[in-house]
């Protein structure tokens, strides 16, 4: 597999970022739902949120790099077998995934920094607060974070179902291409 994309193939960089993001997004969603239900004396009560926040910030960084990289590099052309409506839907879903990804992470950051405190990535790298001192920001951001995350996951499931449809029903290489093949 080449490092960079070609006209017909995804390169190693795009493939890695895609699958790493997918695993992390589903992992953070599960971790997030689990950690808020822990009781006060659970051994993970403190560490689970720290892990969730640290990984979230790193994914945000990766996503920023990904968006810049996406704009500055060529992408494989759509399969000749695809219909024009499918391409349009795919484009809308792809852009929406990016929008929900970024807004979900940003709303999460707002919960933790609403009092002016930094989010500290793995107890080492502080990401300072930018928006704080706004009344009940943590509550508004909290509701937004939950619903944006649910929307992101729903859209990602739709995206995965479309990939499965292409592979098993249309017998086209859409899913294979995402593995760099």
């Amino acid at each position: 597999m080449r490092l960079l994309n070609t006209e017909n193939h995804w390169g190693l960089i795009a493939v890695s970022i895609h699958w790493l993001s997918a695993i992390v997004v589903f992992g953070l969603f599960t971790l997030g739902l689990w950690m808020v239900e822990l009781d006060y004396y659970h051994p993970w009560y403190r560490e689970a949120p720290n892990l969730h926040k640290s990984i979230g910030i790193l994914l945000f960084g990766l996503t920023m790099v990904r968006l810049v990289w996406r704009r500055s590099h060529c992408r494989p052309v759509a399969l000749a077998s695809s219909k024009s409506i499918e391409r349009k839907i795919a484009t809308v879903v792809h852009y929406s995934l990016y929008v929900f990804l970024v807004t979900t992470m940003f709303s999460g950051y707002l919960i933790s920094t609403a009092d002016g405190r930094a989010v500290v990535v793995f107890n080492g790298l502080p990401i300072p607060a930018v928006y704080y001192g706004i009344a009940k920001l943590e509550d508004i951001a909290g509701i937004a974070h939950l619903w944006l995350a649910i929307s992101l996951i729903s859209l990602a499931v739709l995206h995965a179902m479309a990939a499965i449809k292409h592979h098993f029903f249309d017998h086209d290489p859409t899913l294979k291409r995402m593995f760099g093949l």
């Binding site: 009781d39 006060y40 004396y41 919960i111 009092d115 405190r117 009940k136 920001l137 943590e138 509550d139």
Partner: protein, 192 residues
């Protein structure tokens, strides 16, 4: 002489104004001179403090007949402030105050018993988390008198111990953290 006429009139009026004994006071919350603070042990090793920033209410106080004194306070539960956003959010949630369901806590006094010096005991009904219980507040009158802007003020501080479970808040914070100490700081401005 004409110069002093106005002054004499004012003094004469003041002479009538001073003997007012029973009076109604509005709690000065807008000026942030009143608040409800709380204190709970963290794991039994340290004190965690916080406060409710928004409250409103009034009281009446009769120096001649203090036992007729009455107070009513309404606290906006969502105004809880621990200086930690994640904790505020958690305390407002269903695990604790459930502020979307119970946006107010209310205290209505039922009796006032003056004790030695500036001390008193205030009994009343506290509604918190949808549950009403009789509580007793140990009260201290901090002071009273004219303020520099033409008003008259009277302030109290009081404290009471609440058991979280009594008010249906059952999230377990550990054996040392089942009770919370409430401190009320109230400043009233006399109604004109």
């Amino acid at each position: 002489m004409k110069k002093y006429r106005m002054l004499i009139v004012i003094l004469a009026l003041t002479a009538f104004a001073v003997p007012i004994q029973s009076a109604d006071y509005d709690i000065d919350a807008g000026g942030a001179h009143s608040n409800v603070q709380f204190k709970i042990k963290h794991l039994g090793y340290a004190w965690l403090t916080g406060r409710f920033n928004t409250l409103k209410g009034d009281f009446s106080y009769d120096e001649k007949n203090p036992k007729t004194s009455k107070v009513e306070v309404n606290i906006d539960t969502s105004s809880i402030d621990t200086n930690h956003s994640e904790l505020n959010k958690h305390l407002r949630s269903e695990d604790f105050l459930n502020v979307s369901k119970y946006p107010d806590a209310k205290f209505i006094s039922t009796s006032f018993r003056k004790k030695e010096k500036n001390k008193a005991v205030l009994n009343g009904k506290l509604t918190l988390h949808g549950i009403t219980k009789n509580i007793s507040i140990a009260l201290d009158q901090v002071g009273h008198g004219p303020d520099p802007w033409g008003g008259y003020r009277r302030g109290f501080t009081g404290s009471t111990l609440l058991t979280l479970k009594d008010f249906g808040i059952s999230t377990d914070l550990g054996p040392a953290s089942r009770q919370v100490e409430m401190v009320l700081n109230i400043e009233g401005i006399r109604r004109k």
